[in-house]
């Protein structure tokens, strides 16, 4: 078991074109650091000094991690993490 991380099209140049990759960690920060060992540069596209970048949304099993502790959010094997660019959606 591992944690599945889904990568948006725009960042797949960091994953050799893969739509989803696997990693491990106890927190989101740990997971991203683990991924960065194999997919160098990915972490920096998602995180800056203040935390998750403004226009990056990360979902843990479909819930926005910003409401689950951000980079400190606890993750475990079997979870799915989805990375998406922020867009204007909704019934507008």
């Amino acid at each position: 078991m591992a944690i599945e991380v889904r990568i948006p099209t725009i960042l797949r140049n960091y994953t050799g074109g893969a739509k989803s990759v696997e990693g491990s960690g106890d927190t989101l920060a740990g997971l991203l650091a683990d991924l960065n060992d194999r997919y160098g540069g990915l972490q920096e596209r998602l995180v800056d000094d203040s935390g998750l970048r403004r226009f990056v949304n990360v979902y843990l099993n479909d819930e926005d991690v910003r409401f689950l502790g951000g980079l400190d959010a606890a993750v475990k094997d079997g979870d799915t993490v989805t990375v998406l660019p922020a867009v204007a959606g909704g019934a507008s």
Partner: protein
């Protein structure tokens, strides 16, 4: 009920129980039927408040031209208000929005400028901002950043819910401009300790996110994360499944974004039921299913409907 005109009948929408979908007698779901507004969507509230405020501020004169980026519902609401008040309306709409919305807008006399499908509403916002800069005579009310949008919900939707259901514990709505969640959320928080404010945002396929540069994303100016307690990203498949469940189980024919909101509402209700906590979860039905029939969402199997929905904006 009797009203002096269509606009006077705005709001005061029914709040109906969803007893068959509620996970337990102590964890109940309630649907706020916003399709019962004058043009059939929750956006009538924001449109009316935004136009009224612009009139008070002297921004609008008879014959003025309004400009708005919209995936449809706000455009239709504004078109109705504009027709009754004597304004012209230009809508910037992504080309992958449903045919029903375009037909309605044209019937109301609005002019539609299409923005590219790739990029969805982000692109419509970008195009509209450029048009506004090039045409200083046009008035862009700009629903994503206009305080009157969230104020409409602070002054109407929130008080209506509290009056009908003082025991409310959760408020769940779709996240687009964020106006419904910000306004209703702020009002409820001031009156109901520990109320949970939950957003359900649509998760589209590759086409919509496709080539979006991650540094050029879009967060509506109205959005204040501190108002929310959770935010769910709901796939088209889950939204469709729940939309059909609403009709199958409770007889309610709703739009697809309401299915997404129901998906998040059910998760919150189930969580409360499992923890043995009482819950009264209000979920916003933003519009009816009529505006989405041509998307194929309501015919054939779920898999077929999902395939047809790929690349279309359903909220």
């Amino acid at each position: 009920m009797r009203y002096d005109s269509l606009l006077d009948s705005l709001g005061r929408t029914p709040l109906i129980g969803l007893p068959r979908l509620s996970p337990a007698p102590t964890a109940r779901l309630w649907a706020k039927l916003e399709d019962r507004n004058p043009t059939g969507s929750v956006k009538d509230r924001a449109a009316f408040f935004m136009v009224s405020r612009a009139e008070k501020e002297g921004l609008l004169k008879p014959g003025s031209t309004l400009l708005e980026p919209t995936s449809g519902n706000t455009g239709i609401s504004l078109a109705m208000v504009a027709k009754l008040r004597g304004y012209r309306l230009i809508c910037v709409m992504p080309e992958n929005t449903s045919a029903e919305r375009r037909q309605l807008l044209e019937m109301y006399g609005a002019r539609i400028i299409s923005s590219p499908a790739a990029g969805g509403s982000n692109e419509a916002v970008r195009v509209a901002k450029q048009l506004a800069a090039d045409n200083p005579g046009w008035v862009m009310l700009y629903q994503y950043g206009n305080e009157a949008n969230s104020l409409a919900h602070y002054e109407t939707t929130g008080p209506e819910i509290l009056e009908d259901l003082p025991s409310v514990t959760h408020f769940v709505a779709g996240l687009g401009t964020t106006g419904t969640l910000m306004g209703t959320g702020r009002y409820l928080r001031e009156h109901v300790p520990d109320v949970q404010i939950v957003a359900a945002e649509p998760r589209y396929g590759e086409l919509v996110y496709g080539l979006r540069n991650i540094d050029e994303g879009f967060v509506p100016e109205l959005y204040d994360a501190s108002v929310l307690t959770s935010r769910f990203s709901v796939t088209s498949a889950d939204a469709l499944r729940r939309t059909r469940e609403l009709l199958d189980v409770e007889g309610l024919f709703a739009g697809i974004s309401s299915g997404a909101a129901l998906h998040a509402a059910l998760a919150m209700a189930a969580k409360a039921a499992a923890a043995g906590q009482r819950a009264d979860v209000v979920v916003v039905i933003a519009d009816g299913g009529w505006r989405y029939l041509s998307t194929g969402a309501y015919s054939g199997t779920l898999e077929e409907a999902e395939a047809r929905l790929e690349g279309q904006l359903w909220a």
